[in-house]
Symmetry: C2
Subunit: 245 residues, 2 copies
DNA sequence: ATTTCGCATTATGTATACCATTTTCACCAC
DNA sequence: GTGGTGAAAATGGTATACATAATGCGAAAT
């Protein structure tokens, strides 16, 4: 599960919001050495989101400390942060457990996302530089090729990239931050989602419209499509959660 | 500023979301003793939101530890949480400072709130028990009496109570949580806001419509009014921020 | 006089040891 | 099997120590 025992090096973060966490420029900019607990937060978040730490599983301090080669202090600080993000739940004198994402919580989160992502899309239409839009379109075409070959993994990867690019391009760091927080919590529900052929086809069609609306910088239309897209997504994530359990 | 030196007792929390943090029932329910860092988080949050700790001011660990009568560990854990909420900014080897709320950030936050609070209002119209709605109406009437007497403090207090009751009544804990997070950050900008007679009058009129829409459980209409209400609010908060600095 | 270098001071980041409290669980009595 | 009882283990919190980086100040250099 947790392979190595020293983590001091890696600190990169698939960064959705270059405007939020100081964008690491190639050679210029201030030298920021991330603190240990920050890296621990990233690491644990990744473990949870990627599904290496399953919901409901406990997180014993000593074990993690040993596996990460750190002391309790930074780990405990990291757990507090993750708890405030909702990824783990802290029970006094009982420790941290990975928060379980019930169907009702997913419902609640999508309800919020269905309000935020359309807003982001609308803003992105007027704020994204043309180059970024072009890039999203390229990703879209690439995604379509994966769809034709029924390559699920690659498809979902690009799918997520597109959504994050749109949100990241909205120009509102607060919105980006909130979206990230919710997104990281809902993301690890994806592993149980096995899109049916029919739903997949529909999602593809919606993405086509998303690309067109974005390319045309038609904010209202993009917002409408994104909302519908999310509403469908919510449905099959929910059904996947209730059936597969 | 910080009067006492022991905080072990107080743990009550003007609770907007009884559904989120386990509602403390009068005599039943499990005995939960809040952990120390949780209380510290509350305490510091209050200090910041109430304006006792001014933006840009540093938060020296040792001083706060002494004033609160605690050791560094729980304080540091609390600071990490507040940082992840955006209330303080953590600079490595430099400590924590109260995040300054620039006009552009306020703009960004209102943009998100203008999307979330209408949603909450719409949901509240279908989810709030009649008793809660009646209570909001009573608060409204009381607020109006304060308005007639030009009692600013009491007016704002009830104003906030009403908004929080509506959001708290939406039935979506995720939405409530996000709103709380943003609200606590934007709230301490209120201290510089000095509503003009004209804007005040307008706000009162909007609140009248808010009450009517809520009482009629007209979700769409409430959403529309809340959005407009927030848009106006944003404008005078912004102008207050840019002029008063 | 201003800049710069070096050094002491200070505060933060992390580790470690220790204790209190609580949970867990095995064990035992009934 | 049910229900205490107590030891072991894990967590919450304190205290301390030390490494590292930021800050400030004085001396040296220009």
């Amino acid at each position: 599960m947790i392979p190595d025992s020293k983590i001091r090096e890696s600190a990169e973060k698939a960064d959705l919001a270059p405007s939020l966490s100081a964008a690491r420029v190639s050679t210029a900019g201030p030298i920021v050495r991330p603190t240990l607990h920050d890296e621990v937060v990233e690491r644990l978040r990744a473990l949870i989101v990627e599904g290496d730490l399953l919901p409901e599983s406990r997180i014993p301090e000593l074990v993690i400390c040993q596996q990460l080669g750190i002391s309790r202090t930074p780990l405990r600080e990291a757990l507090k942060v993750l708890a405030s993000e909702g990824l783990v739940t802290l029970v006094p004198h009982q420790g941290a457990v990975v928060t379980k994402l019930g169907a009702e919580l997913v419902d609640y989160m999508f309800q919020v996302l269905e309000s935020l992502e359309p807003l982001a899309g609308e803003l992105a239409c007027s704020h994204m530089p043309q180059a970024a839009i072009d890039e999203v379109c390229r990703w879209h075409d690439q995604m379509m090729r994966h769809y034709k070959r029924r390559e699920r993994g690659e498809f979902f990867h690009l799918n997520r990239r597109i959504h994050e690019a749109i949100v990241g391009g909205c120009g509102n760091p607060i919105l980006i931050g909130v979206y990230q927080g919710l997104g990281s919590r809902v993301r690890y529900a994806r592993y149980m989602v096995n899109l049916s052929t029919e739903s997949w086809k529909q999602a593809v069609q919606e993405h086509r419209e998303i690309r067109d609306a974005l390319a045309a910088r038609n904010g209202k239309r993009l917002a409408r499509i994104l909302k519908q897209h999310l509403r469908n997504k919510r449905e099959y994530v929910k059904s996947a959660l209730t059936t597969a359990k």
